[in-house]
């Protein structure tokens, strides 16, 4: 099964963020993170990239086998394979929209989720909406390919409200980045 490369994803997201922000201190910290990127692992999974993806039920996780595409207010909506927190779709927002008064985090953790309609894997950025109290609705904690904090771009416990005016966590969105 094709496994995505966390280093490339992390760097892509960080570069994208760095290109459009003006917050000097955060840029400086991200710069350090980017410098660190080459030290990050050349994991065995990277070498498996060339392998043809296997999308048979036997190759899919329990989440992917049971995921649906119709209702984005449910934890089993396909994009939510590695989400942790309240769904913004239940809090007055949308799948890529923060509820009124909250602010999207410019950085995020990511997941690689399979759309059951076409059987393809897509990279999803779980961007927190910040600056309001915890929404509390539709709490989900899905863990496909979710790792620990030493690999932070794949960890869903970190509060990702960096570079926002407040670090208070409100809810999480699931933004399409592209094919994984």
């Amino acid at each position: 099964m094709k496994t995505f490369n966390p280093d490339a994803i992390g760097e892509k997201l960080l570069r994208r963020f760095a290109g459009r922000t003006s917050r000097r201190s955060i840029i400086s910290r991200l710069g350090i993170a980017l410098v660190a990127a080459p030290i990050f692992p050349v994991l065995p999974v990277s070498r498996a990239e060339a392998a043809k993806p296997d999308r048979t039920p036997e190759a899919k996780t329990a989440f992917a086998r049971n995921a649906q595409t119709k209702d984005d207010t449910k934890c089993d909506y396909w994009r939510y394979c590695a989400i942790d927190g309240s769904l913004c779709t239940c809090c007055g927002g949308g799948v890529h929209t923060c509820p009124a008064g909250s602010e999207p985090s410019p950085v995020s953790w990511v997941g690689s989720c399979i759309n059951p309609e076409d059987g393809k894997a897509y990279m999803i950025a779980y961007r927190d909406c910040c600056g309001k109290p915890a929404c509390g609705q539709c709490g989900c904690d899905n863990t496909d390919r979710e790792t620990q904090v030493y690999l932070p771009q794949l960890n869903n416990n970190v509060i990702w409200c960096f570079g926002t005016s407040s670090m208070e966590y409100h809810c999480s969105t699931a933004i399409m980045i592209g094919a994984a």
């Binding site: 990050f40 036997e58 996780t61 620990q148 904090v149």
Partner: protein, 388 residues
């Protein structure tokens, strides 16, 4: 007013009659003297105490006596803070983040120092930042001599803040790219797990440091090691457990040595678990997924049946793994899934488990017998006094 008085007198009389009927003997002697409001103090932290953090968003850690199951106090541990116990037992340290206007304003990162006897705030040590996460026991760590604290920061580049606990002053930050989760390394500095599958050792030398790494020994993306690992300060040994149930020990020194892994499932006489979908097996899972009883080198692990990538599922059983013989010596079934486990470090070891509904259960580690059930104990992680 007269009517009211007579009614009150009647009610009081009825109450006295009713209580005298219900209780043939007086339960206590009433001394009709005005009492003063007093405040309790605590003994120094004890081996038999569990410090239980409230659930996500909670601002306190309740202290329970494992012998009685009773709450004896609370330490103010703000939301997503990290607590550490002074090895000398004189103070508690809480690394936390607060804002000047509650949910907004200027961010302040600090280590609050509380007197262990009065639980009163002694001082605050400002720091440049810290990772806000909650549920991790390896973010904030004290050196064995209690003189230095290491506080992990992520903003989103990773570093470690060094804090002098004698002078109660922030010293400096050490950049630590690609690593997190701190292990004490006496006389050297600290060690840390890294995304490249290595263990980094940071030798702190005054104003500089030297960072060395072991050879890669695990795959951080395919079979990660749980960040809530255990560490034995006496043996200078870390115990690591991976999502599939591979157990490793690491002898911590200037050049740590990591053991060959073995499967906890095979140690229980079952086949090893793997990462394939639809492969149902026993897997470790939860938040504080394991507890080490250091005097007997027994690792207690929360286990559940399922597929891979279920590492946050609560445990349905506790497996007692003897790290010396590499055998699972006991399996204790649990009625409903629990997410955190800790064990007292005395000979008569008692286990505490908590679930996401804030319920706690205290069990005898040897027999599995339930000693106490505590409602609203807290759903966060649990801390005990470590043998030094």
């Amino acid at each position: 007013m007269t009517l009211l008085r007579s009614k009150l007198a009647c009610m009081l009389l009825t109450g006295v009659v009713a209580s005298s009927l219900a209780m043939p003997a007086l339960a206590e002697t009433i001394v009709a003297e005005a009492e003063e409001a007093t405040v309790n103090t605590l003994e120094p932290p004890k081996t038999g105490w569990f410090f239980v953090k409230g659930g996500w968003g909670s601002a306190g850690s309740s202290i329970f006596d494992s012998a009685t199951g009773k709450m004896i106090g609370m330490i103010a541990t703000g939301r997503d803070s990290d607590m550490a116990i002074d090895p000398a037992g004189k103070v508690y340290y809480v690394a936390e983040t607060i804002w000047t206007k509650g949910n907004r304003g200027t961010r302040q990162d600090l280590v609050a120092v509380y007197d262990a006897k009065t639980l009163k705030l002694l001082t605050e040590i400002p720091t440049p930042g810290r990772l806000i996460i909650g549920g991790l026991k390896t973010n904030f760590m004290l050196s064995d001599d209690g003189k230095t604290a290491y506080d992990y920061n992520f903003d989103p580049a990773s570093s470690v803040n060094v804090i002098d606990l004698v002078k109660r002053k922030f010293v400096r930050a050490i950049e630590l790219p690609g690593c997190a989760n701190l292990i004490p390394n006496p006389g050297v500095g600290f060690s840390s797990l890294c995304a490249d599958g290595t263990l980094a050792t940071i030798a702190v030398k005054g104003a500089s440091q030297e960072i060395t790494r072991t050879e890669p020994f695990f795959d951080a993306a395919a079979d990660p090691i749980f960040a809530n690992f255990a560490y034995d300060r006496k043996k200078k040994q870390a115990v690591f457990l991976s999502y599939t149930g591979m157990v490793r020990t690491a002898a911590i020194s200037a050049k740590p040595v990591v053991s060959e892994p073995f499967s906890i499932q095979q140690a229980a006489g079952l086949r090893a678990a793997d990462t394939k979908p639809l492969d149902i097996a026993w897997f470790p899972g939860g938040s504080q997924v394991m507890a080490l009883h250091r005097p007997t080198s027994t690792l207690y692990v929360l286990m559940h049946m399922g597929e891979y990538w279920t590492h946050k599922h609560g445990g349905d059983e506790i497996w007692a793994l003897d790290l010396t013989s590499k055998k699972v010596t006991k399996r204790i079934p649990i009625k409903s899934p629990v997410h955190n486990i800790e064990v007292t470090q005395d000979d008569a070891a008692l286990i505490m488990i908590t679930d996401r509904k804030n319920n706690a259960t205290i069990l005898d580690a040897k027999t599995g017998e339930i000693k106490h059930a505590i409602e609203n104990a807290g759903g966060g992680h649990i801390t005990v006094v470590e043998p030094m």
